[in-house]
């Protein structure tokens, strides 16, 4: 043997990766690298820069060594002294060989983004628009029933019973009278069902199958019945144009894709998401404009000034400078001013418009949520002094 060995010889198990056989090799650390002497007198030198250690190994007694560029060969080193010497001398033990090239990864990442975008923004909306028109009225109704219950559950803070429906008989009758006066029946394959939910939100929305939902907050904010009629006419416009149905179908498709991306594939959160999506339904600007145009005509036919739609938005905007509820929804539309103007333009010159409800009926509508609650004083509140001899 020539040349002074830089370390003593240690024996270790070695696999070359051609047959499932273990080879005993003599290992020696040389100046240029790790030297392996195979039993058949063959000599391998693994240069220091190429020596790698396999990471995350459970067995702390053994160091598994490989050589960069050689995917198969492994050296199982158990000698502690040699292990520490080798760790000290090999500069790139922890470096990994890259199997995937960066451009390839980027190409597929781009492909994934394009494909998801095309499906969410082009394919699914197109199919939803097509299918919404084809869906039979009973199907739409079933869809509306399901989503209505989901929304009631989602809005209730306890999540157990669902937001209460306001159904004081006089108020409900007033709402029905308003609907009858607008009389859109000829445009619809089904009757519109109007619900008022006992919730502070200043909002109203339409659901598939002809359900229109008002929140108490909106009715309380309105100054007169005509403004409510205007909102109702607008929502009926969405129903007539099948906007809610299209939106529900579209959400079903695109939420599935989003769930796929974020890993929550079969999660129940999707249902909640769907409900949420419908409440904050943001239809396209053209859909909003179409519903506005429909509302103008309906109001005009019913002898109610179409300008009411504009004043409703205008006043809400002025009163609530902060972004919440319906205001936020409409403020997100850059053409808000245009829509208010359009409502005023829809007023036919020289036509005299009247009230949509008698004053008495309008009062009943505004108190539709006080069924029972207003009659008996709430004895639970401490500051009410329910007991005359209390102090």
């Amino acid at each position: 043997m020539t040349g002074a060995p830089t370390s003593p010889v240690v024996f270790a198990d070695f696999v070359a990766g051609d047959r499932a056989v273990l080879t005993r090799v003599a290992v020696r650390l040389q100046t240029e690298g790790v030297e392996l002497s195979l039993p058949d007198e063959q000599m391998l030198i693994w240069p220091w820069a190429d020596v790698r250690a396999e990471p995350d190994q459970a067995d702390t007694e053994t160091l598994v060594i490989s050589r960069s560029g050689d995917r198969l060969s492994r050296l199982y080193l158990r000698d502690k002294t040699l292990q520490s010497q080798l760790r000290a001398r090999a500069p790139r033990l922890g470096k990994r060989d890259r199997v995937i090239t960066f451009p390839k990864l980027m190409a597929w990442a781009g492909g994934a983004v394009v494909s998801v975008a095309a499906i969410i923004f082009v394919l699914v909306p197109m199919m939803a628009a097509q299918l919404a028109v084809m869906l039979p009225p009973e199907g739409e109704k079933a869809l509306g029933d399901t989503t209505f219950e989901q929304i009631r559950m989602a809005l209730d803070e306890t999540g157990l019973v669902g937001t209460p429906i306001c159904d004081a008989p006089a108020g409900t009758a007033a709402m029905q009278a308003m609907y009858d006066k607008l009389n859109p029946a000829s445009d619809l394959p089904y009757d519109v069902q109007i619900h008022i939910l006992d919730h502070d939100m200043v909002n109203a929305f339409a659901l598939p199958g002809g359900r229109v939902v008002f929140f108490r907050g909106l009715i309380e904010q309105a100054e007169n019945a005509e403004e409510i009629a205007a909102v109702l006419a607008h929502e009926i416009g969405h129903v007539v144009n099948r906007d809610p149905t299209r939106d529900a179908l579209r959400s079903a498709g695109s939420l599935g894709v989003l769930g796929l991306l974020f890993g929550d594939f079969a999660g129940g959160t999707i249902a909640l998401f769907l409900a949420n999506q419908l409440i904050n339904a943001s239809y396209s600007q053209s859909a909003e404009a179409a519903a506005d145009v429909y509302a103008h005509e309906l109001l005009d036919k019913a002898g109610v000034s179409p300008a009411a739609l504009g004043t409703m938005f205008e006043r809400l905007l002025a009163e609530h400078g902060d972004a919440e509820g319906i205001v936020a929804h409409f403020m997100s539309h850059p053409q808000m001013g245009k829509r208010i103007a359009a409502a005023q333009d829809a007023v036919v010159e020289g036509r005299s418009y009247g009230a949509v409800l008698e004053p008495e009926a309008w009062r009943s509508l505004q108190t539709v949520c006080q069924n029972g609650a207003a009659v008996q004083p709430d004895t639970n509140l401490p500051d009410k002094k329910a007991w005359p001899d209390g102090d």
């Binding site: 990766g17 047959r19 190994q57 459970a58 597929w108 695109s254 594939f265």
Partner: protein
Amino acid sequence: MPLTDLNIMYSGRKGPMLGLALRTGLLTILTLGFYRFWAKTRLRRYYWSAIRPGGIPLEYVGDPLEKLLGFLVAVVFMAFYIGVVNLILMYISFAWLQGNVAAYLLSLAGLAPIIFFAQYRARRYILARTRWRGIRFGLEPGAWGYAWRAMVHWGLAIATLGLAWPLTTLWLEKYKTNHTYFGNQQFVQGGRRGMLFGSMKHVYYPLVLSAVAGGMAAAFDNPAWLAAFLLTVPWGIYGLAYWRADSFKRLTEAKELGDMRFRTTPRPWTIIGIYALGWFLIYLVFTGLVLVATGLVLAAVGGGGGSFDLENPDQIEAMMAAGAPIMILIYFAIFLSYRAMTHAWITLPITAHFAEVTRIVNADDLHQITQRDRDEFAEAEGFAEALDVGAAI
């Protein structure tokens, strides 16, 4: 030098696994899920290298970037399927069936072949990236063949309310094993059709007993029947552990790799013990955390002075708003620590038990097994990842 028998040694330890799972889990959360490909790879490296047949560790050589790429590939295809199929199923269910449950069941049925397909492909990827003694394992292509067989066999199991599950297990295991290779040597799964029914006996007995005892308890007012009925619950639990141990034993001992055979003796009570201890430890940790958290909240509320009034809804709302980020943090902390503890205290000891009781016998011809070609497989386990049906680790 004849090898004859090779014992399987196990060198995984709970502490390092807990640390690794916590670290990789934390990184996964911090990177919004992006690191999960790296996390999975690292956990697998640890689990694989812990198993050492004849002293030489298995090696997992899967690459995180390759998994990321596979996921992207799967997204390109799956986005179309999920988006369009979901939409059409929703349409059909409301147009014809007027109900949501139908859509859900239909979409599950529509997904079933894809799920089985994805599981087989994931298995192929994992085996292709597993080595022992420098030799690659491999699984022959055949995912669609597996998917339709799995549909049929699962259908049978569901139709018999799970009673035919042993048959389903055996058939699917045969398909998978008979497509598996170590180097150039093919695995063979032996065993006759009825082989696994015996492993299920401690599930069948308590089922029958509970039916009889339940019926009798309902009909007659005798507490003895009620006691017998309650007794079937622990018996059923033992039955599940027995099934796990005994079906593994019967399947493993009927596997062949050339002249090599396998012997194994897993113990149902050890399995029950591991689960009981693991869950007890997890329960202890969470109870401790809840106590600490309650203490902190009480201290914070008390420290706020007399200004805090539980009766005041505005204050509660304000507190909830301030607490929202903390709640999200707690949610992630629970999720992360639960995952890590399950790895360290359940998955790892279970793997250790099954490994340590298993032996390779008649291994004299091991050295004749030669290398197989690398299975490039660009899609990796992307479909399983996208569908979230991959292996637990």
